[in-house]
């Protein structure tokens, strides 16, 4: 075990003690980024999360134990309301933070200011310098937690993608909408429109997006293989029988991309495609397209963040540690299909697969173990304790 623990990402939420909506917003973010206490079936991202809502600023001008030392990616979410804008101490702190992360295109840390009231710009116009902020006051209060959640999830994904663009912010998430032409086009288009209007996320929509003269196969494989790509399988009645859809899903799994299934089966599938499992799925509601789109976006971002975050966590853990040379990390829990792809492990002398927490239950592990008896399947905590 290395001497100093370096968390991949830590989130700090700053807000003024008198800020009225901070509690609600913070609770929502906690449930999103850490764990939802109401959802016992699946643990959350467990991203280290600290809330300084009730803290007075210490002698150092910041809540005392607040520190970005040894943290790969520090994310500071500042909920800026009138109280904070009026306070000289907070003003100083924000200015210091702006300076610390002032080179967002190269810095590993981000400051995400969230403006809760338009008055902030009147009270303290220079508070954030020229830093772009999330103008949450433009959203109705009742919708604010969800809107903020989606924005934050997306920003975290972008931070983790290792594709900085020269002089510009990190590339956004790119979605590959895998669908059957026969009955999936409507849903794919609805999602694409939703993204166009509300999000910097891009959607790859195959046929129309491939310029004539380019190879269909290469373009699709290229799009799925894109560093920021997530595959969205729009599972309609016809989906399972479409060879292209099958290829797209298996290619995404082969490349260990995040995959999300939109369950939109209307009547029946003769035979479900066996390889859509081991993914989050969300039911499409034809009677509530906007709500469905919102939910789909949330699930996609959660899954993308989860897979990306985890991959980084495990890579950091394995890198440079000779005791862990024969380990290979995965972004999602293994399934039988994974073990198939992981055949090349034999050549690489890999005897241990490390997959995201939480550990799989005994039933699944026994099945996987039957297929590859010599292969050890562990989670980072289980491994970290051994190393």
């Amino acid at each position: 075990m290395s001497d100093i623990y370096r968390p991949e990402m830590v989130v700090h939420v700053l807000s003024h003690p008198d800020c009225g909506s901070a509690a609600m917003l913070e609770d929502y973010l906690f449930r999103l980024l850490v764990q939802d206490p109401a959802d016992e079936s699946r643990p959350g991202l467990n991203i280290p999360f600290f809330s300084w809502r009730n803290q007075k600023l210490g002698a150092t001008g910041r809540p005392d134990p607040f520190s970005l030392e040894n943290v790969h990616h520090g994310v500071i979410i500042a909920l800026v309301d009138g109280h904070m804008a009026r306070s000289p101490e907070w003003g100083t702190l924000i200015a210091a933070l702006v300076k610390q992360v002032s080179d967002p295109f190269n810095s590993h840390h981000r400051l995400l200011p969230v403006i809760l009231s338009p008055k902030v710009f009147e009270i303290n116009p220079g508070l954030l310098g020229s830093m772009h902020a999330i103008r949450l006051y433009e959203t109705k209060i009742v919708d604010q937690p969800r809107t903020l959640g989606v924005d934050i999830l997306h920003e975290l994904c972008r931070l983790l993608f290792s594709t900085p663009r020269k002089g510009r912010s990190h590339a956004p998430v790119q979605l590959f909408l895998s669908h059957a032409k026969k009955d999936g086009t409507e849903i794919a288009q609805a999602i694409k429109n939703h993204l166009c209007h509300r999000s910097p996320m891009g959607a790859f929509f195959d046929a129309r997006d491939i310029a004539p003269g380019h190879s269909f196969v290469q373009e699709i494989e290229g799009a799925i293989g894109d560093a920021n790509a997530t595959l969205v399988a729009i599972q309609t009645d016809a989906y399972a029988s479409r060879e292209w859809c099958q290829r797209e899903v298996l290619e995404a799994k082969r490349l260990e991309k995040p995959v999300v299934v939109i369950n939109a089966v209307d009547k029946r599938e003769i035979r479900q495609f066996p390889y859509l499992g081991n993914t989050p799925s969300i039911r499409w509601q034809t009677a509530a397209v906007v709500e469905s789109c919102q939910q789909v976006v949330e699930v996609i971002l959660m899954e993308t963040l989860r897979t990306t975050y985890f991959k980084k966590l495990i890579n950091n853990m394995l890198t440079g540690n000779t005791a862990l040379e024969s380990c290979r990390g995965l972004g999602a829990p293994p399934e039988l299909v994974t073990l198939l792809h992981v055949d090349r492990l034999n050549e690489e002398n890999v005897n241990t697969i490390v997959y995201p927490d939480p550990p799989l239950g005994s039933v699944e592990l026994e099945l996987l173990q039957k297929m590859r008896p010599g292969l050890s399947l562990v989670t980072p905590f289980q491994l970290g304790a051994k190393a």
Binding site: N46, S362, F381
Partner: protein, 311 residues
């Protein structure tokens, strides 16, 4: 799948770990909230269970959904035909188990095996009947207090390790902060102790004491002053401990703050015998990161488990 202790996937099979994870007054100042504590309880339980350990809780009667979570966790990680209740034990001191509310009983019955401690037998302070709840007078409070101590000692006979996190520094039942007594008794029983200081509270102070720092809360003066402020009759209880009514018996004595802090200083991060190096213990004393905390605790427990097998 093999369930032997040397199996790579369940190295803590057959080991029972005592867990003391309770509210800390310092959470807010550490950027944490109740949710962080709940998460720590849940995740600690998860990883211990996944590694094959049995969990032991002392006097835990919470009904805030933790037992349901625990049930689900045990269910996921139990092996073969094993019963859920064989993986969790709940020790209850006398007379607490006499007054279990139906809701509390129900909450824990599905998930844990209860261990009810018997009434204490102090010749000079007889009780009317083991099933009768003692009066809330000085004698009654004394008997309840030494029963807590007896429960903690019993846990240390049955368990192979103790994990401490958080803990009240005042307003406790008993004659001293519960987690301090647990640490003290565990160390005396030569049990590996894991001091998770990052959540503050009593455990945070234990971590400080282990590093030789002076801890104001671990003085009789401070405790009595606090008790007075909270209108808690602690003073007369502690006086009673030293009175003629109490037989001369080390196990019936009140915890001596000076003795305990001196001993903690001597033990230090290198004397905890918990499978962790001094540097790793220092990290455990300070880390606010649950992932790091759990990694360290599991590492220590596994090391101790392997070493004891080799003996």
């Amino acid at each position: 799948m093999s369930a032997t202790p040397s199996s790579t996937t369940a190295p803590l099979t057959g080991r029972t770990v005592a867990l003391s994870i309770s509210e800390s007054p310092d959470l807010a100042s550490l950027g944490m909230r109740d949710l962080h504590l709940k998460l720590a309880m849940q995740e600690m339980a998860r990883y211990l269970l996944a590694q094959g350990a049995t969990l032991a809780y002392g006097g835990d009667l919470r009904t805030d959904g933790f037992t349901e979570q625990l049930f689900h966790l045990v269910n996921t990680y139990r092996r073969g035909e094993e019963k859920v209740v064989s993986r969790v034990k709940n020790y209850l001191a006398w007379p607490i188990h006499l007054t279990l509310k139906p809701g509390q009983r129900q909450a824990w019955e599905q998930v844990a095996t209860f261990v009810f401690l018997p009434a204490p037998e102090v010749p000079t302070i007889p009780i009317t009947h083991p099933n009768a709840v003692p009066a809330n007078d000085l004698e009654g409070r004394y008997l309840s207090s030494i029963s807590l101590t007896a429960m903690r000692r019993k846990m240390h006979e049955d368990c192979q390790a103790r994990i401490l996190l958080g803990g009240k520094l005042s307003g406790y039942s008993g004659h001293c902060p519960g987690l301090l007594e647990e640490a003290w008794l565990a160390l005396q029983a030569e049990l590996p102790v894991y001091v998770v200081g990052g959540y503050g509270g009593c455990t945070g102070r234990i971590a400080k004491a282990l590093q030789g720092e002076r801890v104001e809360e671990f003085t009789e003066e401070y405790q009595l002053k606090e008790a007075e402020r909270l209108e808690n009759p602690l003073k007369e209880l502690r006086v009673f401990y030293r009175s003629e009514r109490v037989p001369k018996d080390p196990w019936l004595e009140a915890l001596d703050y000076a003795e305990v802090t001196e001993r903690l200083k001597e033990i230090g991060p290198s004397g905890l015998n918990n499978g962790l190096s001094p540097e790793e213990n220092l990290r455990l004393f300070r880390s606010p990161y649950l992932a790091e905390i759990i990694q360290l605790v599991l590492k220590g427990l596994q090391k101790v488990a392997t070493t004891s097998l080799e003996k």
